[in-house]
Symmetry: C2
Subunit: 400 residues, 2 copies
C-alpha cells in the first residue's frame, strides 16, 4: 500500500492522480491533500478520500472547510492553511510518496521539505527542476530517494534509462510536437494571435503551457529539467520535433543503441508509473501498436524559436539564470495572453531578463524565491517598455 500526499490535488495532475488512486483502491491510500482556492472541490475531495490532513491556501477558506467537514461528520480531518499547511501535507509522517503538482514557485518550499523528509517525490511541478532543480536534486541524492518525473517526456526518459547505467548515456532526445507554428514562416510571427497560439495540435493543456509549447519554451524548460533530473550537461540533451507526439522521448547509449518510449497521451500513465515504480501494474491505457502507421521527425528551428536557444544558454549558466528564465516567461506569457505584447515579444523579454540576472548560484529556496521576484519585476518593466513602444491598445495588468 503506497500512502500518498498530493500537493495541488485540485489541479489537472492532482485530479489525474486521484483518478489513478480510484482505479487501484488496494494499492494506494490518500493521506494528505494540499489544495489552492477551490473550496468546493477541496470539500468534495476531503469527503471522498478522507485524508488525515487537508491544506487550503487562505485562512478563511480553512475555517469554512473545517465547519463544513464537521457538519458532514468528518471533523477528524485536520484542516490547515497557507504555505505552512502545504509543508505539513508534504512532510506528513504517514505519507511515503508525495506528488508535487502545485503550479508555479508556490510549490517549491513544500517539495523541497518533502524531499528533505525522505519522501519519494513524483515531480510534476516544472519550477521544482527549472528554478530550484540544483537544490532539490542534490537533496534527493543526499536522501538516497528517487525523484520520479511525472510528465510524458521525462517519464519516457526515466523508462528508457533502465536499459543502461547513467554513465552509459551518450545523449537524451526529447521529442517536441513543434507546436501550432511548426510550419508558420518566421515573418508571420509578429502577427500571431492569442487564439492561434492556444490551438495546440496534440495535447489539451493549461494556457501557459500551451503558449510555452507554441514558443518551444516548454521544450527549453524540459531540457533544463532533464539536465537536473538525470545529471547531464545541456550538450547531452537534444530536441527532436515529432509532430504526432507518439514517441515521448528517447535515450541514446554509448554503444549506439537508442531506446524510445511511447504510449497513449494520458497523464495517468506517467503518474501510475511513478506511483508503482519500480513495479509496473496492469492498466487499461493501451496504445494500439498494431494501428501504428507513420511517425515523422525533423530538427527544431532555433532561429524561428529563439526560446529554445535562450533556455540552453540559461541551462549552461545554471543558478539564477534558470530562475529568471522561468519568471520572465511567466510574465511574458501572461502579458501576451492579455494582449499587452505580441507573440514575438515573448523571447525578447525573456532573453533580456535572463541576461540581466546576475545572482549566480543560489544556496536556498529563499534565495530562489528572491531571484524569482526580482526577475518578475524586471520582466514586467520590460513589458511596460514594449507596450509603450508598440502602442498595444490593452492596458498592462500582469499579476505577480
Amino acid at each position: 500500500m503506497r500512502r500518498i500526499a498530493i500537493l495541488g490535488s485540485t489541479g489537472s495532475i492532482g485530479r489525474s492522480t486521484l483518478s489513478v488512486a480510484e482505479s487501484y483502491p488496494d494499492r494506494f491510500q490518500i493521506v494528505a491533500l494540499a489544495t489552492g482556492s477551490n473550496l468546493k472541490v477541496a470539500f468534495e475531495q476531503a469527503r471522498r478520500w478522507r485524508p488525515r490532513v487537508l491544506s487550503i491556501a487562505a485562512e478563511p477558506d480553512a475555517d469554512v472547510l473545517r465547519a463544513r467537514l464537521k457538519q458532514a461528520g468528518l471533523g477528524e480531518i485536520e484542516v490547515v492553511h497557507g504555505a505552512a499547511g502545504t509543508v505539513k501535507v508534504a512532510t506528513h509522517s504517514e505519507a511515503d510518496f508525495v506528488v508535487s503538482a502545485i503550479v508555479g514557485v508556490a510549490g517549491l518550499e513544500a517539495t523541497y521539505e518533502a524531499v528533505k523528509a525522505g519522501k519519494t517525490v513524483g515531480v510534476a511541478n516544472k519550477e521544482c527542476l527549472v528554478a530550484a532543480g540544483e537544490l532539490i536534486t542534490a537533496e534527493a541524492r543526499r536522501q538516497g530517494k528517487p525523484l520520479l518525473p511525472i510528465d510524458s517526456e521525462h517519464n519516457a526518459v526515466h523508462q528508457c534509462l533502465r536499459g543502461g547505467r547513467l554513465e552509459e548515456v551518450e545523449r537524451i532526445w526529447l521529442t517536441a510536437s513543434g507546436g501550432p507554428f511548426l510550419n508558420t514562416p518566421r515573418s508571420e510571427f509578429d502577427s500571431i494571435t492569442v487564439e492561434q497560439a492556444l490551438n495546440h495540435p496534440t495535447w489539451k493543456m493549461g494556457k501557459r503551457i500551451t503558449i510555452d509549447s507554441a514558443t518551444l519554451m516548454n521544450k527549453g524548460f524540459e531540457v533544463i529539467e532533464a539536465c537536473r533530473l538525470f545529471h547531464l550537461p545541456p550538450a547531452k540533451v537534444e530536441v527532436l520535433v515529432h509532430p504526432q507526439s507518439t514517441i515521448h522521448s528517447m535515450v541514446e547509449f554509448v554503444d549506439g543503441s537508442i531506446l524510445a518510449q511511447f504510449s497513449v497521451t494520458d497523464m495517468r500513465l506517467p503518474i501510475l508509473y511513478a506511483l508503482t515504480y519500480p513495479e509496473r501494474i496492469q492498466s487499461d491505457m493501451r496504445f494500439p501498436v498494431g494501428n501504428l502507421r507513420h511517425l515523422d521527425f525533423c530538427p527544431p528551428d532555433v532561429n524561428k524559436f529563439p526560446c529554445l536557444r535562450i533556455a540552453y544558454e540559461a541551462a549552461e549558466a545554471g543558478g539564477a539564470k534558470t530562475v529568471a528564465l522561468n519568471a520572465a516567461d511567466e510574465v511574458a506569457v501572461a502579458a501576451f495572453l492579455e494582449g499587452t505584447i505580441g507573440f514575438a515579444d515573448i523571447p525578447r523579454i525573456i532573453e533580456d531578463t535572463v541576461s540581466a540576472s546576475n545572482r549566480g548560484q543560489l544556496e536556498s529556496i529563499r534565495e530562489v524565491l528572491e531571484a524569482d521576484t526580482e526577475a518578475r519585476r524586471y520582466a514586467q518593466e520590460f513589458v511596460l517598455g514594449v507596450n509603450k513602444k508598440t502602442g498595444h491598445l490593452r492596458p498592462i495588468s500582469v499579476v505577480l
Copy 2:
C-alpha cells in the same frame, strides 16, 4: 577481460565477432574457434588470434592446418576436428562466453554443451531456439546463465525488457521489413523469380535468410525464438511490418508503456551488446537520430504470407513441429533456389511437413536431430511430387 569461444568463426557473425574483438583488445580475448571447411580463413584466424584450440570440420583439413601452423611457428595451437572438436571449443575451460553462430542444426549439440558447461552463450544460430529451444533455454535456466540473443530483433527485445520484469510484459512486437514482396499482389506470387526474391530491401544477408525474409518465414522463426528466449506464449508475440527496419523491435508492458529499440543496421552492435552485457561500452556505430524523418508501419498480411501463420501454429504446438518447420523450410528454400519449385510452393511444402510431424515433445538433442532428418526426408519427397506435377524444368538436387 571476456574470454570468448566462437562456434562458426569463418561465417558472417563469426567474422563480425572477431571484428568487435579487434576493436577492443583490452576487453576481449579469443580462446577457441570452431570453423567449417574454409581452410584458408581458418589458418588466417588462427595466426591472427592464436586461440588455445581451433576446430575444423574435416579430419584431413585438420591435418593440413596442424602442419601449416607448426610451419608458421604456431604449433602450440591445438587443432581438433568434427562434431567432437566443435564441442571441445564450446566447452573450453578458459572460455566464459560462447558465440553460437554455426548455421543449421550442426550447431545444436555444441551450443547445448556450452550451456550445460555453464558458459554465457550469445545465440546467433536460429536452430538453437527454433528446433532445440525448449531444451536449451531450460538448461540455461538450470545453470542460471543468460542466453543473449545476437540478432537485431531479439537483441532489441532484450534491451527493451530491461525497462521492466518479464511478468510485466503485455506483449512483444517484432518488426519486419516486409521483404521485397510487401506490395506485390498475391496473384503474382506464383511467378516470382529467384532473382526477385533475393533482392532484399534493407539487409544484405545469406541466400536462405533472404528467401525466408521474402516469405516472412524468417519472422515466423523469430516469433518462435522470442517465445523460447523470453518464455512467452505465441499469443504474446506480435509482428508489425516496418519497411525501414529502423526500429528493431518493441516491448509493450502491462501498464501501457511501450519501449522500442533502434540503431544502425550493423550486426556488430548486438554482438557488442551481448559480449559486454550487462555493461554498455562506447562504439562508433552511431545512428544519426537528428536525421530521422519518417518511420512507417503496417500489419502483416498472413493471407499473402502463409509462412507466418504456419509458424504461429508450430509455435503453439512446440516440440517436433518447430523442428519440422525449420527442416522443411530449409529443404523448400533450397529447392526454390535451384529452380525445382516455385515461390508459392514453399509454404505448401512446409505446411504439409509440419502437419505430418507427430513426434510430440523432444527430450534430447539426439531426438531433435532425428526429427530433423525425418522432416527433411518428408519435405524432399514433397518437393519431388511438386516438381513432377508442375513439370519444372530443373532436376531435383536438394542436398541434405
